[in-house]
């Protein structure tokens, strides 16, 4: 800072280059992540065979069997389960916050939802292990470590994402929409649900896609409560292993092809995330244009 006391053209230029270089780091980071993941994951995948790897239903590293279909299916099903909870409660809570919540309650609930977003995933996992898992064990039998437990905890974890994005979208709808509906004789509730919510749908949808990304990429909470059996999911009450869990559980001791297969699992997950990101950009841009 002291140096800028004698500002010269050269210094101005030099710092501009420094700023631009820093801005490039985000680009470099994304490229490096792509390169390192694909370079380390694809050879393993090729060795196993792309078809065998992606559609194989048996994961048994000891016998050199590396099929991750059970994990892919588990990741998708757990995400869908979480979405059911997250969308129903999340979108309705966003409507509540934007149009129904009394001011004093809002002042408490809004920071509370931000807090929900900040709680570490291990804490969610531990909470699930102590509360949700025993609940399922007592009511449905079995170990309780199950897909259902993962769905419930993930549903709670994606709530803040969906609520915050949806509320922002709802508040961005011009009040003239709402007033117009009221003027035509609709009730407050009807105006909100029939006019404002449909008008905010692309923003709400963008929030849901972000929620999908968060749910499918979540690791620690799922590991602690989903049971982690590497078999095709057959029931809500059975244990499942997601792609994320597969990576963390075995990376510690994996070597050679096994290790490459785990990195390849990360590659598959990464591709899912990239697709979700692209969907998010498209939906968001569409919403912005509107």
């Amino acid at each position: 800072m002291n140096k800028s006391k004698h500002p010269g053209q050269a210094k101005e230029k030099a710092m501009q280059v420094v700023f631009a270089a820093c801005a490039c780091i985000a680009i470099i980071a994304v490229f490096l992540i792509c390169i390192f993941l694909f370079a380390n994951g694809l050879p393993g995948m090729a060795k196993i065979g792309f078809g065998k790897f992606l559609t194989g239903t048996i994961w048994r590293p000891a016998n050199n069997l590396y099929g991750i279909l059970p994990m892919i299916v588990a990741s998708i099903e757990v995400t869908i389960g979480a979405l059911v909870i997250g969308i129903v409660i999340g979108v309705l809570t966003a409507v509540f916050l934007a149009f129904f919540c009394p001011e004093p309650l809002y002042k408490v609930l809004k920071p509370g939802i931000n807090l929900l977003a900040g709680i570490p995933s291990v804490v969610y996992g531990f909470f699930g292990l102590q509360v949700i898992v025993p609940m399922i064990r007592n009511s449905a039998g079995g170990a309780g470590l199950s897909m259902l437990a993962a769905c419930i905890i993930l549903g709670i974890m994606i709530l803040p994402t969906i609520i915050t994005m949806s509320e922002t979208a709802l508040r961005a709808v011009p009040t003239s929409y709402y007033e117009g509906a009221l003027g035509l004789g609709s009730t407050h509730e009807r105006s909100v649900f029939r006019v404002v919510v449909p008008a905010a749908k692309s923003g709400i949808f963008a929030g849901i896609i972000l929620g999908v990304g968060r749910a499918i990429g979540e690791t620690m909470a799922v590991i602690m409560i989903a049971g982690n059996q590497a078999v095709m999911p057959h029931s809500l009450f059975a244990g499942v292993r997601t792609m994320t869990a597969n990576i963390v559980l075995e990376m510690g001791y994996a070597t050679d092809l096994h290790r490459q297969a785990l990195i390849a699992t990360a590659v598959v997950l990464f591709v899912f995330i990239l697709i979700i990101n692209i969907c998010f950009s498209i939906v968001k841009n569409k919403g912005d244009k509107q």
Partner: protein, 286 residues
């Protein structure tokens, strides 16, 4: 007569629908609130009794599962990752907000990549950190490798907060400074950045919150050794990783509760601070 009847019936129907919608929305709000309150109270009530002085002894061993080394490692991790991500994130934002031409392809590309970084799950960062920092750069499991990985994770958070804060600084500040003969660089460091400081700080605090809570990105970069390493090239577990390790070891539920309480309190305090800053920023802008 008939018309009136139909009308009142419709009104009745409308009222029923309105009441039902209102009820549904209230129920959703109450469920969210109930989950929040239950989660926090459950952890606090079950965890607080387990916070004992012995948890804070300097050394960890199987008899005394001390979380003190993990606390120190967490602080180191926060410090290191902010040291890397802070300046880079702030400088990137300065470039985006003060130098780049609006709507240029380069800027759009930086935005796209930083959005992509935001969306990448922490386990992917963890695997990348393991492949690049631990293996390719031969750092081994170390606090440094962990901090570099986390720095990339929180970079977009700090970038975005700083950029928004810079955009919120009125142009009259810059024009005033230029009018008095200051150069662009001097204007940025002496006028614009100080004016944007609270917003930048809020972003940094958000970043700290993510570092404190992170696990998946650290297990295979910083490792899980339960001691304070001699230097940043040594492996060490943070509090969140400590909680995960306690779970893999399959015992020590009491210590897990205690760790959860500490993590929760840290997150609550960080949220409180960043809320307070955000409120002040809003007031100033109004």
């Amino acid at each position: 007569m008939k018309y009136n009847e139909k009308n009142s019936k419709e009104q009745l129907h409308g009222k029923g629908e309105a009441a039902a919608l209102k009820a549904i929305v209230w129920i959703a709000g109450i469920v969210t609130m109930a989950v929040l309150i239950f989660l926090i109270l459950y952890i606090l009530i079950n965890g607080l009794p387990h916070i004992k002085p012995s948890l804070f002894s300097i050394h960890y061993n199987s008899q005394n599962v001390s979380l003190f080394p993990a606390m120190i490692n967490t602080l180191t991790m926060v410090g290191l990752s902010i040291l890397f991500a802070g300046p880079i994130g702030i400088f990137s934002a300065v470039y985006l907000a003060e130098y780049a031409k609006r709507g240029s392809k380069f800027v759009a590309f930086i935005r796209l990549t930083s959005e992509t970084l935001t969306g990448i799950p922490s386990i992917i960062f963890g695997i990348f950190g393991m492949l690049m920092f631990v293996d390719a750069l031969h750092m081994g499991y170390s606090l440094l490798a962990g901090a570099l990985t986390l720095a990339l994770m929180i970079l977009p958070v700090i970038m975005r907060a700083t950029e928004e804060a810079l955009h919120a600084v009125p142009d009259s500040y810059r024009e005033g400074s230029f009018g008095l003969g200051a150069g662009k660089l001097r204007t940025i460091f002496k006028i614009v950045l100080p004016a944007a400081a609270p917003g930048i700080l809020a972003g940094v605090i958000l970043g700290i919150g993510r570092v404190v809570g992170e696990t998946a990105a650290l297990i295979y970069t910083a490792g899980t050794v339960a001691q304070i390493p001699k230097n940043v090239m040594g492996s060490g577990r943070t509090l969140a990783v400590h909680m995960y390790s306690l779970w893999t070891e399959g015992m020590n539920v009491d210590q897990s509760y205690a760790t959860a309480v500490i993590l929760l309190v840290v997150v609550i305090v960080l949220n409180f601070i960043s809320d307070a800053i955000a409120k002040r920023v809003n007031k100033v802008n109004e």
